[in-house]
């Protein structure tokens, strides 16, 4: 008993020596990505002057590509560029894996009033598209349950309307990705009317998230070809 007590004092003694420092730093990814999770938490977050989308559960290749795009200046957002400036591809891939595998419950869908004709318009765009205007169905690339396609196409459900509208607006203005060849989403977004953008954004925000990203083989070769720059080039490179 005396030995146990002695041992106990030894241990607490050691603990007290280090007691005022932040103890031992956990050797985990969660600890390493605190710089990310201050803005990107389990839910979408609106900061003082910016909007931070949830990144948990998004396809790994998509997250990896976006981080490299920020770092290398293809996707313009200085706060992300500064944070990632000196990170290797290997580490970014590990971070992408971490967030991709993070299973967090989705927030409840929004409840936005929509007119029946607006719903019809949105569903037509989402499931059929307008081939004559070179607009493919959203589901053709983002999966039939719209939860994305592995490895590099993001899901569309579980995002707030404001974010979807802003992203589509960004693509229409060419403001999401800069330089190089225009990407497929930019070309598609430019075809959409204001009403179409609004209808799609509302409709998507009203759905509850369920299911997982679809596998790559659901994509048609035509779309793979059209979007190769976004979804293939280094996409999910390991």
């Amino acid at each position: 008993m005396r030995f146990i007590l002695l041992l106990f004092f030894c241990i607490t003694g050691v603990a007290n020596v280090n007691g005022s420092t932040p103890a031992e730093v956990p050797d985990t990814m969660a600890e390493r990505v605190k710089a990310c999770t201050i803005c990107h938490s389990a839910e979408d977050k609106v900061g003082r002057d910016a909007y931070y989308p949830r990144i948990a559960g998004k396809p790994q290749g998509y997250l990896f590509n976006q981080m490299r795009n920020f770092r290398d200046g293809r996707r313009y957002y200085p706060p992300m560029a500064i944070l990632l400036e000196n990170m290797s591809d290997e580490y970014l891939l590990e971070i992408a894996q971490y967030f991709s595998s993070l299973q967090l419950p989705y927030p409840d869908p929004e409840r936005i009033q929509m007119q029946p004709e607006e719903i019809k318009l949105a569903e037509h765009l989402i499931y059929s598209g307008y081939p004559e205007r070179d607009i493919p169905a959203c589901s053709a690339c983002h999966g039939d349950v719209l939860m994305g396609v592995e490895p590099a196409i993001p899901g569309l459900i579980g995002l707030p309307r404001a974010y979807i509208t802003a992203q589509l607006g960004g693509w229409r203005n060419g403001g999401i990705m800069r330089g190089g060849k225009p990407d497929c989403m930019s070309a598609i977004a430019k075809q959409l009317t204001e009403d179409e953008v609004n209808a799609v954004a509302k409709w998507l925000a009203n759905q509850s998230a369920s299911g997982k990203p679809s596998s790559f083989d659901v994509l048609s070769s035509e779309l793979i070809d059209r979007c190769s720059r976004t979804i293939l080039e280094n996409g999910g490179a390991e």
Binding site: L7, F8, I11, T12, V14, A15, S20, T21, P22, A23, E24, V25, P26, A30, E31, R32, V33, K34, A35, C36, T37, I38, C39, G47, R48, D49, A50, Y52, D72, G73, R74, P78, P79, A81, I82, L83, L84, E85, N86, M87, S88, E90, Y91, E94, G179
Partner: protein
């Protein structure tokens, strides 16, 4: 009970902060002797030197093809656009000869005799030996030629005049390769050669005069031209002098960007990633030896301002910062400001925090950041950005607090200082 006592208590999420000690040592290296056994030929030796001179750092645009130039360097004299160094005949240096290249590095003159602007650090490169510049040239010529025309410089009047540049050179440019100091040993001289020459540390770690000239080799520290960062003095104990450091620790900082008490951040983190992590052991040791010698004989002084008595209102002011510290910073940096060595830097006694210029500390709070990923630190921990969460006034309060807690003493920071520290993202 026993188990409880040894499980470290970690509070997640809420309180997060990390301030890099902003030791911005810049340096690079090369081989004086070409007969190093590890370099089988001139091209691979040149590749090493090119890394150590970090030519790629400036001669590559963000996300661009290496060495094709196009990077914009904004200065108070105008915007310089770096040229294409690949051996493309029309847009690169494919038509250049060894002699042309030597003339550029050693004399600061282009192939056609045009005087070069010292944004290209020939003021330092002039110290590099002919053998080394030839090896760098051989390496650059071995690259795949990439046709890429870059826009011309956009230099303000009157700096765009070649005759003015000639005057500038007469005043500030001294041509000549490095001359060894016979009173010092070979390692020291090798370090001096690298730091003063190819490494062009002086390009950042010195105050430039109104004409943009860095006039000394003393690495006295200064605001980096065209960047909103302060490169601390390498020759002062109050900033980033390393006279009282072990050589191993200086080597570790140069090659991994992280030590128990310091971290490279901002532009220095980039230099470590792009260049210094590739230093050979001998060269890292040489540079560390030279850098250490810059402050070896300096006696330590207490940095910062001294408040003999802290007034009540000042104490109240700092307490407000202390509350913010508790909420956002303490989880990582600790109530005692001691951090977690090698992971979250200590703020107590951290020279990067208490040096005169609060710029780097403010920027670290605003932008956060990760140390460079290097072979020895491939998965670094990071500092979150607080720009999105804290207002300028709050950043000023918390930085004032950490500059004056745990025995630290330094000037207070105002919201205006925080505002001025924004912008200039690299």
């Amino acid at each position: 009970m026993k188990r409880l006592a040894i499980i470290p208590r970690v509070s997640w999420w809420k309180n997060i902060t990390l301030l890099w000690m902003c030791v911005i040592l810049q340096a690079m290296a090369a081989e004086i002797t070409a007969s190093e056994p590890e370099y089988s030929d001139e091209v691979s030796y040149g590749a090493y030197l090119t890394r150590i001179g970090n030519c790629m750092g400036c001669h590559t645009a963000k996300g661009g093809v290496p060495f094709t130039g196009g990077r914009r360097l904004s200065t108070s004299f105008g915007v310089f656009i770096t040229p294409n160094l690949t051996p493309d005949k029309e847009t690169g240096i494919g038509r250049w000869t060894q002699q042309d290249f030597w003339q550029a590095l050693h004399q600061g003159k282009s192939r056609d005799g045009r005087l070069l602007y010292p944004a290209f650090p020939y003021t330092e490169y002039t110290k590099v030996t002919r053998q080394d510049t030839d090896a760098i040239f051989a390496y650059l010529q071995s690259l795949a030629p990439v046709p890429q025309s870059n826009p011309p410089h956009d230099i303000f009047f009157p700096y765009n005049s070649q005759s003015l540049l000639a005057v500038w050179r007469a005043l500030y440019f001294k041509e000549g390769i490095y001359e060894p100091d016979q009173s010092k040993n070979q390692t020291w001289n090798r370090g001096a050669y690298l730091v003063q020459g190819l490494g062009h540390c002086n390009a950042c770690h010195t105050t430039r005069n109104i004409l943009g000239a860095s006039q000394d080799e003393a690495l006295m520290g200064g605001q980096i031209m065209g960047m909103n960062w302060y490169a601390p003095s390498l020759s002062s104990h109050l900033e980033a002098g390393s006279g009282d450091w072990e050589i191993d620790e200086i080597v570790a900082l140069l090659t991994t960007g992280v030590t128990k008490r310091a971290m490279a951040s901002g532009p220095m983190a980039t230099v470590v990633r792009q260049s210094l992590q590739y230093l050979s052991q001998e060269d890292a040791l040489a540079m560390a030896t030279y850098l250490k010698s810059l402050t070896e004989n300096e006696t330590g002084k207490l940095p910062g301002v001294q408040f003999s008595v802290m007034s009540g209102s000042l104490r109240k002011h700092l307490d407000l910062g202390g509350q913010l510290y508790q909420e956002y910073c303490q989880a990582c940096h600790g109530a005692d400001g001691k951090g977690a060595p090698g992971i979250y830097p200590a703020l107590a006694g951290n020279r990067g925090v208490i040096m005169d210029s609060p710029l780097n500390t403010i920027r670290s709070v605003l932008n956060g950041g990760y140390p460079p990923t290097t072979a020895d630190n491939p998965r670094p921990y990071g500092m979150p950005p607080f720009q999105q969460i804290l207002r300028n006034e709050e950043v000023a309060l918390v930085v004032s607090y950490i500059r004056n807690a745990w025995g630290n003493r330094a000037s207070l920071v105002r919201a205006l200082d925080v505002d001025r520290s924004k912008g200039g993202n690299d």
